[in-house]
Every structure is written in C-alpha cells, then in structure tokens.
Amino acid sequence: MTATHASPDHSLDSFGDAAASATRVTPGNALRPEDIAVRPDKPSDDVAEYALRLGDDSLILAQRLSHWISRGPELEEDIALGNIALDLLGHARSFLIYAGHTLGRSEDDLAYWREEEEFRSAWLFEQPNGDFGVTIARQLIVSIYQHLLYSRLVNSSDTMIAAISAKALKEVDYHRDHATQWTLRLGDGTEESHERMQAALEFVWPYVDELFDEDALFERLGDAGVRPSTLREQFDAEIAAVIDEATLSLPALPRAMGGGRRGLHTEHLGYLLAEMQVLARKHPGATW
C-alpha cells in the first residue's frame, strides 16, 4: 500500500503500468508501444502499409469497444470488453508507431490527423456495436481471424511485425475464448437470445469476406506478410464449429463490396472519426 499522502511522482515517464492494473486478466506486457517508439527499426514502404492496415483494424475496433465501458450487461463485461479494447489499442499503437517510422508520422498523427480515406481498416471493424449480441458476433469473427493471422505472423520475415504479433497472439487467444463462450451462451440460452444472436451473425456476416481479400501488396510483401486467403479454410472450420455448438446457423448472405484497404469506407467511419479526433484537432500542435 503506497498511497498515503506522498505527492505523485512528478516525472512524465510513460505509464508502462497503465496496463498492469489488478483487473487485467490477459497475459503479456512485454513489448510496449513505448519500447517500439524508441527503436530505430524502419519498415519498408510495403511493410509500413501492411502495418497501417493491421493497426487501423485494431484501432477502429478498440474505439468501438471502449464505448461499452459503463454500459455492459454486467460489471464483469465492462471489465472484459474494456480489457479487449485495451489490448487492441495496444496492438494498434504498436503497429502505427512502427509504420510511422517510415511514414515520418507519430502514432497520434496517424490516429488523429488522417482523413477518412486514409484509413486502411476493413469494414467489419467500423460496424456499430448494436446490442451485446452484435458486439459478440463481430468479436467472434475478428478474434478467430486475428488469432489465425498472428499465429502465422509470428514467423514474419520482418522481425518487428513478428514481435508485435507474438505479443498480440497471447491476447487475442483470450479474446477468442471470451467471444466463443458468449456465442455459446447467447445461441443456446433462451429463445430470445438465440434469435438475437442469429440476427447479430447475419448483421455482421456480409463483412467477413473482405478480411480475406488480397491485392498486389501481398505479392510484394513476400514472407513479411501472410496471404489472408491461406487462412480462410481454417477460419471457416473454426467458426462453423462454434456456430454449430451454439445451435445457430451459418448465414448464407452475399458479401458487402468492401474497399477499406483502399480507403473506401462505410458511412459509419466518418462519425467514429469525428468523435475520436474532435478534441485533438481543436488544438493543433498541442501535446497531452
């Protein structure tokens, strides 16, 4: 117990312990964004673009999930969804800082001063929270996808991408478990929850395919990246198993067009960014 009336530490050292509070349940505090910021590693232009995509996916979803804090169906979920958001924000910061080394921009430049068409996230991540079922359905897809992706990226020929992925992998493993457990409970809970969860899956399903789209970047990346199409089979098998056990059915719906990787987004992203960026943009050049 340290906190009687000692004055706070006046130094402005980084809050490495921000993520180390007692309510944190996910493992891994090894590679912090602040550590990456002071390293000289510069990604190639292609790897920087790739890191931007990975970072934007997690940043946009973290922003969405953070809205649940103080609004969850029970206190435990305020904490769990907050944890997941915090993990994703950590991954986003790491990837953005790394990309920024080549782009000549800080994580905050990239988060707060890019325009909508400069964001590289896929459409799924910006979809609104909806009810708890929609949030869980979105999270189930994302965390199965990210788990498969990071499992392979730990072997990336780019050592920083590999290192960030190794840390993220441990955390998204927990996210995947959380989303799976809730999918089972909502799918195989009450009649109402079953209906809501089925509707939730159908709401997010059109955005699945975009995650596995490939463009010329992947040819140039070589072993630094992972071709998402190579993850698809295992993704389909894993998600089908969860959906089946949850007594739900796999939606058969046409895919949405997508285009996030090229900066073409749904109407939702503009509002999300307006909220996220408003204060920073009111004070150009300020530090916080």
Binding site: M1, A18, A22, R71, L75, A85, Y112
Partner: protein
C-alpha cells in the same frame, strides 16, 4: 473511486431497544467488544451487533455504487481522449473502478446481502452514492481534476479504511488503494501536461480545478459538529479519523501539489494557521451538498438513467447466461 462520506447511517442509538438477549448474544457481544478493544478484526462468521452489520452493509454498498456510477464521468471522455496513450491510461483507470465495485460488492456479500439486492437498491434510487459523481465532466481537463482531486480525496478517505475492523472491508480497501494511487498520478500528469501546454490548455486545466475543488473537499462529509454518526463508526474502528481531520490532511496535500502544477486553488481564504497547525479553508456550500445528495445535482438523473439503461439492455444477456448454465447442469445430471 471514492469512499466519500455519503449519508447518515443508522447507528445503535437509532435502533429500537433490543428485547431479552440470549446467552449466545451475550457471549457474542463480549467477544465482539474484546476484538474491538484489541483493535483486531471481525470476520464474516463472527458474532456482530445487528447495527454494526447494517452500518457496514450500508457503507460498503454505497462505496461500491460510487465506484460504479463514478465510471460514467470519465467514460464520457474515453472515445474523445486526445492521444492514444491517454486513451489507454483512461480506459485502464475506468476499468479499475469497475473492479473496485466488484471487490466491494463481494465484501458486502460476506455480510449476507447479495449483490443483486444491493444493485436493485441502487436502481430503485433507494441507495446513495458519492455526490461528486453527479457533477458533469465538461472538458478533457476534468479527467485531470477528477484523478487528482477526486481520486486524491478517495485515497485520503480510504487509506485509514484499510484498517477497518471488518476484515473483508479492510482487505478490499488495501487492493483498491494500490490502484487509486495510480489513478491520482494519471490525473496529476494530465493537469501537469495541460498547465505546461498552450494558453488554452492551461485555461482548461484551471477551469477544471476551479469546478472540482469545493466538491472534492465536500467528499469528506459534513463538518464534525454536523456528523452525528461518525462517533459510533469511530467507536467500532470502522472510521479512524473525523471528517474534518481527513479534509485537513487532504488540503495540506493538494496545496503543495497545486504549486508544482502551477495552478491556483480557488479558495481566497486558504492559509496555514501556525498557531493551531490547521489549514484554514473557505466555508463550503453545505446546502449544495445536501441538494446534490437529495437528487438535485446537475447529473443525478442522467447517471441513474444510464445505469438503468445498461441494466435493462443487459437483461436478455444475463437471462441467456443463466439458462445456458442450467442446461449444462442438466446435461451433466443426465450423463
């Protein structure tokens, strides 16, 4: 966040006189008195006076509710935090407060009142929470002022509660206080950064301190001569220092820190009286305090509406979890 002095609790003096006491009660009372005299700890299974139990349930649950409602003013700025690092720190902080609520509800449950019941009291407007959270968080600088002053006052209040005579309460406070010091520090750093920033940022910081100073001082509760229940709480070793003593200690702490911040405390009467060794501060507006507790604060309705909305929106989720658990139990039974 805050173990503010919340509202009067009934004490032994308010209870109807007890009827004939059993031999067990007499022995129990003797044991209880000895434990209190020795300044040791009462544990859940121990005999305790009904009024002691009632006081504790009331105080611990009010404290828990304060943690939960206290999440709202800060959650209000998570999505607009002006840097990603600040966003991460604020998220971790608000999430800690949910954890504090959980520890405290668990401590209250050891006294025999389930969390559901306590939560329902909050939703029904029958339970109180710290009045400070009925003030709006208007600017980003309020994240600094809340961390520095509100969590700071909570620390001053809560550190002595780590030695509270009821074991589970004291132990919950130990865990909570560890995190509160991080909360205060992050608030202080927000203000420090702003006060060294642009003129607009510095103004934002001063404005936040101006608005939160008096409400933070009121978190310690009414002056000692208007706090009739403190005496019993102190006799039971729940409370260790009077409201005014704690307020003194807090003022002394923030005066020095305000200098480091380069911000002014909005108190023209603030000075240290060498003769009495006391901090003199301005008269606080106790009518406002009473008004806010009675529900007439700026955000009472909003805070309660949000809590009820979250609870109602989550009903189908909690029902699903219950139904699923029952099904699993049946499956195990059938196997």
């Amino acid at each position: 966040m805050a173990a503010a002095k919340l509202q009067p609790v009934p004490t032994a003096g308010n209870e109807a006189p007890a009827p004939e006491r059993s031999a067990e009660d007499i022995a129990g009372q003797a044991y209880f008195d000895r434990i209190i005299a020795e300044d040791s700890r009462i544990e859940p299974k121990d005999w305790m006076p009904a009024a002691y139990r009632k006081t504790l349930v009331r105080q611990i649950s009010q404290h828990a509710h304060s943690e939960i409602i206290g999440m709202q003013p800060e959650a209000n700025w998570i999505t607009r935090a002006p840097s990603l690092k600040r966003k991460a720190i604020l998220m971790a902080k608000v999430q800690d407060e949910a954890g504090h609520g959980l520890y405290l509800y668990s401590a209250a449950e050891t006294l025999g009142t389930p969390r559901d019941v306590l939560n329902q009291q909050l939703l029904d407007g029958k339970a109180k929470y710290s009045s400070i959270f009925n003030y709006p968080a208007r600017s980003w600088a309020d994240m600094g002022a809340i961390g520095w002053l509100v969590d700071g006052a909570a620390i001053a209040n809560q550190v002595p509660l780590c030695r509270a005579s009821y074991g589970p309460y004291g132990r919950a406070m130990v865990r909570i206080c560890k995190e509160e010091s991080f909360h205060q520090r992050q608030g202080f750093e927000i203000l420090l950064e702003l006060s060294h920033g642009t003129p607009e940022q510095k103004q934002m910081a001063q404005d936040a301190v101006d608005r939160f100073y008096a409400p933070a001082l009121m978190m310690f509760g009414p002056p000692d001569d208007d706090s009739p229940n403190s005496k019993q709480s102190m006799a039971w070793n729940i409370k260790r220092f009077s409201n005014d003593e704690l307020r003194q200690r807090f003022v002394g702490m923030i005066v020095e820190q305000a200098k480091v911040l380069g911000l002014t405390l909005p108190d023209p009467e603030l000075r240290f009286d060498e003769e009495t060794g006391q901090w003199i501060h301005m008269e606080l507006d106790w009518q406002e305090f009473k008004d806010v507790i009675a529900g007439r604060g700026p955000c009472n309705a909003q805070r309660m509406a949000r809590r009820r909305e979250a609870h109602e929106d989550g009903t189908w989720v909690r029902e699903a979890a219950r139904a699923y658990a029952e099904k699993q139990l049946k499956k195990v039974g059938a196997a």
